[in-house]
Amino acid sequence: MAAQAKLQVETARQELRACNETTAQYGLSLSEPDIQELVSCRVKSLKDSGRVEFGSGILPKLIQAFCDSPYVSQENYKDLLVELQDAFYYFKNESMDRFSDDELIEFMAKVFNGRAQGSVEYLTETSLEDLCRYAREGWDPYDADKAGDQF
């Protein structure tokens, strides 16, 4: 199992290194210490959220979705990814896995770049909470007040 875990970690690192090629055009890149930290945070985040992940993880998709955001810069890039990763796994649980990875990430990017204006705090404490409550309890898509960001 230890060998398996090592292989998974190395695959994750390689995928993050590969992402740098895409993000370079936006002035974003991850250094080796950044990659190391992100991979470690992924392990912790999965453990904290009680989830199991196969493959290299959700970070490449998060990077793809957020790298062109006007609110992301090289200064906040790594820390932002750590926060978004945590939020992602947490809200996968909160929404009872009702949304696919792509749907959740799309929502997160839309709100982050829109109403949240680059605030992860707004994203997680307002919109994502609302989204997950609606996933659990249902919502009326025609009721703007109740639907919130879904409207």
Partner: protein, 286 residues
């Protein structure tokens, strides 16, 4: 283990249809448990050695296991149909609802992702319950086999006499969660113990006196042997001497022995070997 982990990864991907890279630990455990169940089933059913897990193609083995399970589901469905056809015509809500539930379970049973889980609650109690270690469709299969043994035994007796006995046991036997076969078999064992024909089922005061005499004559260690001999006589008289039925009644004897000895110590067998209630009492309930 790494190979099994990789297989689990592929299974998770199928389960989420590629929509999610992660699942909760509980879901992963359930999927893993199902995988182990199916692989184990494939190994046993096809007589494949366990070491195949170390080097063989696990995806093929999984597929084989799923195929074998699918065939087994059909066989259990046929068994269920037979049990339904041969059920004694004695009304009991729990019996009826349990059989209905098992019938519905064939569509609900997920042999691909949750093969070790049986999707129905089985309420009707058996004399000899199926152990919890039996999983998935194998639980239903074993349950139905045991129910079939009980039904075959019950069908040897006059339905009216069985109903009379059940009414003595529990007035509202139709609505209660009780086993329909147990008391008739206990009474039948009692009659076999005193060398009388088992078919009347009735154990009156005269029969109980004989029973008390036989059981208090010998030492306590002999009670188990006496019950076992009575069980053999019962099987012989019912023309049900197959190993499964003999073993099933042996189990009843083992379970019944402490109750019988307790009643014997108290000097009152009337609460274990029951008499039919008089007609006027039964009609007063209606």
């Amino acid at each position: 283990m790494p190979r099994l982990w990789a297989l689990l990864g592929r299974q998770v991907k199928k389960y989420t249809m590629g929509d999610s890279s992660s699942v909760t630990e509980e879901t992963a455990e359930e999927l893993f448990s199902s995988l182990c169940f199916t692989l184990g089933f494939a190994l046993r059913a096809a007589g494949i050695p366990c070491k195949t897990l170390l080097t063989g193609d696990l995806d093929s083995l999984l597929k084989k296991g799923q195929g074998l399970l699918s065939t087994r589901v059909q066989a259990v469905k046929r068994l269920w149909e037979m049990v339904c056809r041969t059920s004694p015509r004695i009304q009991n809500d729990f019996y009826r609802d349990t059989l209905c539930g098992i019938g519905k379970s064939f569509k609900k049973y997920d042999l691909y992702f949750f093969a070790d889980q049986y999707p129905e609650t089985v309420d009707y109690p058996l004399i000899n319950p199926v152990p919890e270690s039996q999983k998935g469709i194998l639980y239903a299969e074993e349950y139905l086999k045991r129910l079939q043994i009980e039904n075959t035994l019950l069908n040897r007796f006059d339905e009216k006499k069985i109903i009379k006995l059940l009414e003595s046991c529990v007035p509202d036997y139709r609505g209660m969660c009780i086993n329909l076969c147990e008391q008739p078999m206990i009474n039948a064992l009692g009659r076999a113990l005193i060398g009388q024909s088992v078919f009347p089922l009735q154990i009156g005061e005269k029969e109980r006196l004989c029973l008390t005499g036989i059981l208090t004559d010998g030492r306590q260690e002999n009670h188990s042997r006496l019950l076992s001999e009575a069980s053999r006589r019962l099987c012989s008289e019912l023309h049900r001497e197959d190993a499964s039925t003999v073993s099933y009644l042996d189990h009843l004897c083992q379970d019944f022995l402490p109750r019988m000895e307790s009643a014997l110590s108290a000097g009152n067998l009337s609460n274990v070997f029951l008499s039919f209630l008089p007609e006027n009492i039964i009609s007063s309930w209606e």
